[in-house]
Structure formats: C-alpha cells, structure tokens
C-alpha cells in the first residue's frame, strides 16, 4: 500500500494516515517506522505500513558552518576535540553529533570579540573514546602553541576530561601560558547550555598569569560563577550537574563571575623558561578497582602483561589477602603495584592495618591522597620518562600539585 521504497529522508511528503491527509518532511525511516516532521513542528513516528505517501518532493536543507581560519596574531588557540561542548544538533533528526562550528562562537560568547584566537579542529571524538594516543596528539598541538606563547583552550567531553588534563599536566614540566580544558554538561542546542558561559570564562582565564593545566566548568548550578580547577586534582563528582567538577582538598585556581576573573593565591604563575615537553607514556598500564568478588584469577587476568598497575583499594588501601599470591608472582615478573583509595575522600595509609603493612612488604607503593585516575596517568608518564630506580621516588613526590601532604578541609 505504501510507496516507501521510493521515499527518501529529507523529502517533503504528503501522505494518508488513518484516512487523514497530512504533510511534512520525512526525517528518517527504517524498515519499520517513518519519522515525519509535520508542518506544526511536531515529529510523529508511524509504522511504515500504516501510511500511504501520495506526493513527494525534494528539499534542500542548508547547514551554516564557517571553516576555521588561521590567525598569525592569535593569543589563544581553541582546540576542539569533541564532546558535548563541541557538538551540534541536527535539528531535523535531533541527533547530536560531535561537530564543532566555529561560527557559533561569535554568536554566543559576548567577550570573544576582544580576543585574537585561532580555532583548531581535531577529529571529533566522544570523551569515552579518548586514548593515550590522542592525549599525545593534543599534547603536541599544545606544545606548538606554547612555543608561540599562545594560551590553549581545549574543548573536551567531560567524562574523561580529568585524565586528559592530568596527562597534559605531566607532559609539561612548566607552562608559558595557561592550558584550559573546557566542557559542558548541557549541549549547546539548549537555551540553558552551560557551554558558552564556560567558554567565556575560559577566554578570560587564558589571559591570566596561570602556568598550569586547569579544568574550567560551572562553580554552582546557577549561571553566576565558573571556576578553574587544578587538572591533576579534579574529579567529575556528578553525572549530570553543571557543577559536576570539584577539586577536593584544593580551592579553585581562579574564579570568573560578574564578567571578571580573579586568580587565587597558590596558583603557579606562567614560566619564563623554555617549555620542556615529553609526551612519552607507558601504555602497558592498568587501573584495577578492587571489590569483594574479585578472586586471584580475575586479578591476574587484569594485571598480567602490565608494567604498572594502580589499585583502587578499599578504605585506607586494602585488597583481599587471597590476591596476595597472585600479586607476589606478578611483582616477581616486574609489574609495579601502587595503591590509591576508592573512597571519594581521604588518603591511603598502609601502616594502620595488618593488610596494609603486608601489602607494603610485598612492594605496593602507597600513593597518599592521589586520585586513582591521576595516579594511573602519572605512573604512565613516570615509567616512560624516568629510570626504573627513580620510579617509586617520583611517584610519591608531588610533581604538579597532585599529592597533598595535609588535608585542611573540615
């Protein structure tokens, strides 16, 4: 009854549904359903065999998008890697795709006209699909920008933003200009998006005297202030709130509110020295989250073939004693084990309980209050850039502010 075989997505169609003549645009279809946008703006989804298409005509939907342009005078580079902040919605289908249109910056960010910027588009990628190879590619772009004395604003998905921020932080022993990762928790098609305010703040921070890698996100659920958090101390603490990012134990490095930014004391200033950069990373690494079900075989399967393993242990840094034999044999084969806590606050202390003491004797390195994610990235960096006999020393030394000796928040 239907002429569905010939109707194509994006065509304007007239059709009969339940004896009613209607018209709209065929948005998409599969073998079972048509999705049609009616002239009222509503989409309807109807079974393919329930309608009869009586007229069709092609239409062209134009997408406005402006290509990125080089700017030799640029003071800041905006590097789009993907994620919600660098996504656009296809208004016809509603699908959100990771494509960044530099044109939207001018329309939506009031302060952008006072910045000289250059947009660099990377292959768009969702946060969960990030890999160490991509961290290295981003690192290279940041390095080139640093050499030119440019700040960097990296548009990034929020899910693994802390990992990328840590990786960049360890790659550079000092920075000439700020490196800022910006994300958003609400896509830019929503009028309530946090993307533009976060970006507006990132631009302001990019001119500040900050020689660190920071994550720039909402400070509260209101559109009143944005904070710049130290990358190596930042965690995504909520799956959806705008103020999901927190840096437990350290205050924000800088704040933006009422259209002005202030840098907080304790933030490392821009370095005058030549940038030293190394993107080498040990990739035979693992982060293992211990749980009561985990047996020696599971543990072995997760750790074998790895040179470095960060354990997120229970409480002050424990795993079951039934894993000890497996851990011993892996250590004998050269795997280095480190301990962090899977608690959402606090540090490991492996002297308090016997399990902790036994693990220390087995060679497990306690990493204080370093976050498991940061510890993994740091270990990858240290293993690839320092001699083996320096590994433990570097891991327990604070390099970029990742390790706090005192917890001062009550």
């Amino acid at each position: 009854m239907s002429s569905s075989a010939t109707a194509k997505s994006g065509e304007r169609i007239k059709f009969i549904y339940q004896k009613m003549e209607m018209s709209g645009i065929l948005v998409s279809h599969d073998s079972r359903q048509y999705n049609i946008k009616l002239s009222s703006g509503y989409n309807i989804s109807v079974p393919v065999d329930s309608i009869e298409i009586i007229h069709r005509e092609e239409i062209t939907v134009s997408h406005h998008s402006s290509p990125p342009s080089e700017n030799k005078e640029a003071e800041v580079e905006i590097i789009a890697t993907g994620g919600t902040i660098a996504s656009r919605v296809d208004y016809l289908t509603g699908a959100v795709t990771p494509v960044f249109d530099p044109g939207i910056l001018g329309e939506n960010i009031p302060n952008i006209t006072s910045f000289r910027y250059e947009v660099k588009l990377m292959e768009p990628i969702l946060s969960e699909n990030m890999t160490p190879e991509i961290w290295q590619r981003i690192g290279k772009i940041v390095h080139e920008a640093q050499e030119k004395g440019r700040s960097c604003i990296i548009l990034h998905g929020t899910d693994t933003m802390s990992y990328t921020a840590s990786a960049l932080a360890f790659m550079f022993s000092s920075l000439k200009r700020p490196v800022i990762l910006v994300g958003s928790q609400r896509s830019s098609d929503r009028p309530s998006t946090d993307a533009y305010l976060n970006l507006e703040a990132a631009l302001e921070f990019s001119r500040q005297n900050i020689g660190e890698v920071g994550i720039c996100m909402h400070n509260s659920i209101s559109d009143t202030s944005v904070s710049l958090l130290r990358g190596v101390r930042t965690r995504k603490m909520h799956s959806s709130r705008r103020d999901a990012f927190r840096s437990p134990g350290v205050p924000p490095m800088a704040l933006y509110s009422n259209r002005s930014s202030t840098v907080e004391p304790g933030t490392i200033p821009c370095s005058m020295e030549k940038v030293s950069f190394s993107s080498s990373l040990e990739k035979r690494a693992a982060l293992v989250y211990f749980h009561p079900l985990m047996g020696p075989d599971d543990f072995h399967a997760m750790c074998s073939g790895k040179n470095i393993v960060v354990i997120a242990g229970t409480g002050m840094g424990h795993i079951s004693s039934r894993l000890f034999d497996s851990l011993k044999s892996l250590t004998r084969d050269g795997t280095k084990f480190m301990m962090t806590t899977q608690c959402l606050g606090g540090r490991v202390d492996m002297d308090v309980y016997s399990t902790g003491r036994q693990l220390t004797e087995l060679g497990v390195i306690p990493l204080g209050d370093m976050f498991p994610e940061t510890a993994l990235v740091k270990a990858m960096h240290v293993a690839a850039n320092y001699p083996a006999d320096k590994f433990k020393e570097m891991m327990i030394t604070d390099m970029r502010g990742e390790l706090l000796s005192r917890e001062v928040e009550f």
Partner: protein, 562 residues
C-alpha cells in the same frame, strides 16, 4: 540566563528575539517537590505512565486518531518559565471531533506536555519563578477554528473539560485548568493565555473584539493624520517638585522620567473604545520600563501643574498628545524603537501576538507569536510505543457531560438542576474541592450556588472557590457546618479579618457541639418544652450561636433515650 539558539532553518524565532532584547535574568525557588530534573541538572526519567494512559484515554474520548508511537519534542521557550529553555511536548492524538449545540468542532491535537514554572514576581529585569509546577503532566487540547461565538467557545471548553474534572484527573488548584483562547477577526491571530474560568472565555473574547474595533478606528486615524514619531526626552527637571507619589517613588528607585510628544494624537490615547495609551503602556511594561502615563488621562496621579511645562517643552499644539515614561536610562533606545514599532503595527492592523488576561478582564501584550521553527526532537526520551498503555487507557475512559451531571447528582445527593448548574457553569472543580474538605454534597453545592454569590455581593468583589477552600482548611478542630462556615466567611471576606482570627471569632460566638448537647439536655428538662419552642428556649439560655438543625437532632435523641 537562557541563550538563544537558532532553529533548524537557521532562522531565529520572533518570540526568541523578543526575549533576547529584554535581556532578563531568572531566579528559581526550589519547592518540596523539586528535584534535579526540574533544575535542568539531570535528564528526564521515564514518561509518567498515569498521565500517558489518561492522555490516550482523552484522545479516544475526543474521537481522535491516537498515535501508535509517541515522539517527544523540545519546544523552545526562553521566557524563563522552563529552566531548560524548552518545553517537552508530544502529540498523542490528532484529527478528533466533538458535537456541540452549534455543530461539530474539530480537535486538531492532544499533546502531553510538561507544565511550566509559575511566575512569582518580576522586579526590573529579574524574574522569579517557582519550580513547584514545573514538570507536572499537562494535557494540551487544541481545536480547529470551528468555534462560532464567545458562548460557543465556553460550551466547547465545558464539553472538553467537565469529564476530565469529573474523572478526578486534574490536580487541585486554581490554575490546573487553563484555556488559551485564539481569536481572529481578520487582523491576525491573537492568542490569549491563561484564561482560567469558563466565564472568562466569553468576556475576554468580547474585550478583544472591542479592543480590535477600537484599534481599527485608531488605525484609520493614524493613516489619515500620519504616524507620529516617539522620541523620548529625559525630563527629570520638570518633576523635581512633583507631588505625584508614583513619580516620586519611581525616581527614588532609580528610574528616570522621559516625555515625548505624539503629534495629533489627543483624544485617541483614551476615549471610549480608543485606547492607544494602554497599547503603549503595555509595551513599556513588557520591555522592563516602570510605566507610562498619557495626556488623555491627565490631570491625575498627582500630576497637574507639570502639564503646562511638559507641553511647552515638547512644543505641543492643541491636537497633540504626550506621554510620560519612567524607566532605566539604558532602555531609552530600545523603548523608542519598540514604541514606534507598536504605532506602526497598529496603523497596519497586523495584530498577531500572544496576550494575557488581566484580573480586570482586559488583556495585555505578552510576546510575539512564536513561529513554527522552534521544535526539535527530545533526544533524552526514546520513542514510546503506546500499545502497552492501550488496555488500561480504555478502562478509564471519561464520560460525557450529561452523564457527569446525573452521576454527580446521584452520588452526592444534590438535585439534578444544581448538578447541571455546577457542571455547566464550570464550578465542578470547586465543588469537588469543597467536597474533599467538608464531605457534604448538599452543603458544597449550597456554598457554591448561594452562599458564595451572596457574600460576594456584600463584600463587593467576586470571591473565588479556592479562597473559600483555603479558609475552610484553616478551620481548627471545630464543627464545620453551614452556620460556622457562613459566619467565618462573613468576617473574613467582608471585614478582611485574617483566616485564623475569623475562626477564633467563630469559636467565641458558637457553642461547641459538646456545650450545645449539654444545653439541649438542660432544655429537655423544662416542663413545657416541645419541638416547637425548643429553639427559642435554647436562644434564651445562651448568648452564643448554634445550628438549630443540629440542636433539634440532639433534642430528638434525648427524647428517644428517655
């Protein structure tokens, strides 16, 4: 803050541009029923199954084609009433029809939406909303332009609404049923939002007809005499010694005073149905100004001796009018543009816009009509197959108005005439509200049909059912009966006594049932007491009021037991 994004065609909606010009900021008050979804801090969860069943059932009841699959959309709304900047909405049914006394009326669609925030207050460019109502399931039922008269509009609303109220599907509350009245007499479509009472449908349409007829005359006048140009001049100096409270207050709160001449407009600002002044005043308020006064209404508001100097300053001739506008200085340019554009709109009679109904029965400009390009699919909610809902939806089908009337009469023991009045006059909602509190059908009906209208008359204003319900809810552990309620209403509504105090007065003036019972026992021992003289005798024994019917019942009981 809500950003403004362009739609799929790259165009930006007129309603969105309007909001952008106003540059307002929004504050939200969290209520007991708020959660992160309301604050737009979390994606929505599964669709409300109860609401879905009721919407499907309504679709069937209104003879619609019910969609086999439901696709949620985001409708862009940037006035702050939705924290996300859009409203979730989906078509449940299309192409229905109902039979009315004036022929069939087609139903275009039934949509299941999320209700928006309730506005609490607006101060300058900051608007405060409550999250309380946000996200509550809302059914939007739209009709085709088949409605023939104001009375017919009311009838259609009743046919659609009464069965839903009777089915108990509506939340209790003043704004749980609202009509958006679309009206056209050839000068564009005007949508009047938030009409709550059935009786207001007729009156707001009448008002709108009158308004547009008046504007047509104004338009002809402007076409003949030429459209004046409004140019606002800061004139605080003319009002330094003003005795006008309004102006003094405005200046104190940091607003400046501007004046402008309207060449040749004397007599059309406000005279009979010519009301250009109100049109301009609405614009000033909509764009965040303090207010507007015009020469046709002066001297008034404490402005008198300033009139001469204003006219002189503006070089006004005899036929010229002038306006006084209070606003923040940074609004000057925007306000001039918008006021002049309003004059042009009126001259061209292109009156399409969204308006709202004021309490005094007039309507005011709310925003331009939104365009079609403001919807795109809600990606957080998958397409829903309605098949699993169908069986239950069929079970809960609402019944037609006639059955509602007989059901109410039978179930609550009131006459069929009273039941009909209650249903047809749109009072069913209030009736059920009263019933819930006092659990007495005939008293609820009496309150609605007799007591409230009487007290409204003596109080000199229309008392709403919700106000009476609120008062009754405040009653302490006390016998709620016709006398006590009526007495409490009298002192509350006529003398403006606060609710708690009114009940205190009731307690002081009325015998409690315990005391009445004691008194009846005492009276029963009087030798010549009978049912005939019981009440006067009781009155002789106490200064306090009591319910004679209750006393009689008590007396009969005492007699029986002795």
């Amino acid at each position: 803050m809500l950003g403004t994004t362009s739609g799929e065609t790259g165009d930006t909606d007129p309603a969105v541009i309007y909001e952008r010009k106003r540059d307002r900021s929004f504050q939200y008050t969290i209520t007991d029923n708020s959660c992160l979804v309301d604050a737009d801090e979390e994606p929505p969860q599964d669709i409300n199954h109860e609401a879905m069943k009721k919407a499907i059932s309504t679709s069937m009841y209104l003879n619609c084609i019910t969609m086999s699959h439901v696709q949620y959309m985001r409708k862009i709304v940037v006035d702050g009433s939705n924290t996300s900047g859009f409203q979730r909405t989906a078509i449940i049914g299309i192409g229905g029809r109902i039979e009315t006394g004036m022929g069939p009326v087609r139903i275009s669609s039934i949509c299941l939406e999320e209700d928006s925030c309730r506005k609490i207050e607006q101060e300058g460019s900051t608007v405060e909303y409550s999250l309380g109502r946000l996200g509550i399931p809302l059914m939007e039922i739209s009709t085709e332009p088949d409605i023939k008269s104001p009375e017919h509009a009311r009838e259609v609303a009743e046919i659609i609404g009464a069965p839903l109220i009777a089915a108990g599907w509506l939340r209790k509350g003043a704004d749980s049923i609202r009509q958006d009245v679309n009206f056209s007499m050839g000068f564009g479509r005007v949508e009047i939002k938030g009409v709550q009472k059935l009786s207001d449908i007729e009156s707001c349409i009448r008002y709108e007809m009158e308004r547009q007829n008046g504007l047509r005359k104004v338009s002809e006048f402007l076409k003949g005499a030429g459209i004046p140009h409004i140019s606002l001049t800061e004139s605080g100096d003319l009002f330094e010694k003003t005795t006008s409270n309004i102006l003094r207050k405005s200046m104190k709160s940091g607003l400046s005073i501007y004046v402008s001449r309207l060449t040749g407009c004397a007599g059309i600002m406000k005279k009979g149905d010519l009301r250009l002044g109100k049109e301009l005043s609405d614009i000033v308020k909509a764009f965040g100004g303090g207010g507007l006064m015009h020469s046709d209404e002066l001297p008034a508001f404490g402005i008198d001796h300033e009139i001469g100097p204003i006219r002189e300053k503006l070089g006004c001739c005899d036929g010229d009018a002038f306006i006084i506008v209070t606003m923040r200085p940074q609004l000057k340019e925007l306000m001039e543009t918008e006021l002049n554009s309003r004059l042009k709109t009126i001259c061209d009679m292109t009156l399409s816009e969204t308006r709202y109904l004021n309490q005094d029965g007039t309507t005011s400009f709310l925003r331009p009509l939104p365009g079609g390009a403001r919807m795109y699919p809600e990606t957080d909610v998958p397409v829903i197959n309605i098949l699993p809902f169908m069986e239950e939806a069929e079970k809960i089908k609402p019944v037609p108005v006639e059955s509602v009337i007989s059901d109410i009469s039978e179930k609550y023991g009131i006459s069929i005439q009273d039941s009909e009045t209650i249903v047809r006059k749109g009072m069913l909602h209030e009736f059920l509200l009263f019933l819930e509190i006092i659990r007495d059908g005939s008293l609820s009906s009496r309150l609605l049909l007799h007591i409230i209208p009487e007290i409204s008359k003596t109080a000199g204003r229309e008392i709403r059912g919700e106000e009476v319900a609120e008062l009754m809810k405040k009653a302490p552990a006390f016998d709620l009966d016709r006398e006590t309620i009526e007495y409490a209403m009298k002192i509350h509504f006529e003398d403006n006594t606060p609710q708690e105090k009114a009940w205190e007065e009731v307690r002081k003036s009325f015998l409690s049932s315990g005391d009445l019972s004691l008194l009846v026992e005492k009276a029963a021992s009087i030798p010549d007491i009978s049912e005939k003289n019981l009440i006067p005798r009781l009155r002789g024994l106490t200064d306090k009021k009591f319910n004679p019917a209750v006393a009689m019942e008590m007396y009969k009981k005492v007699r029986k037991s002795s």
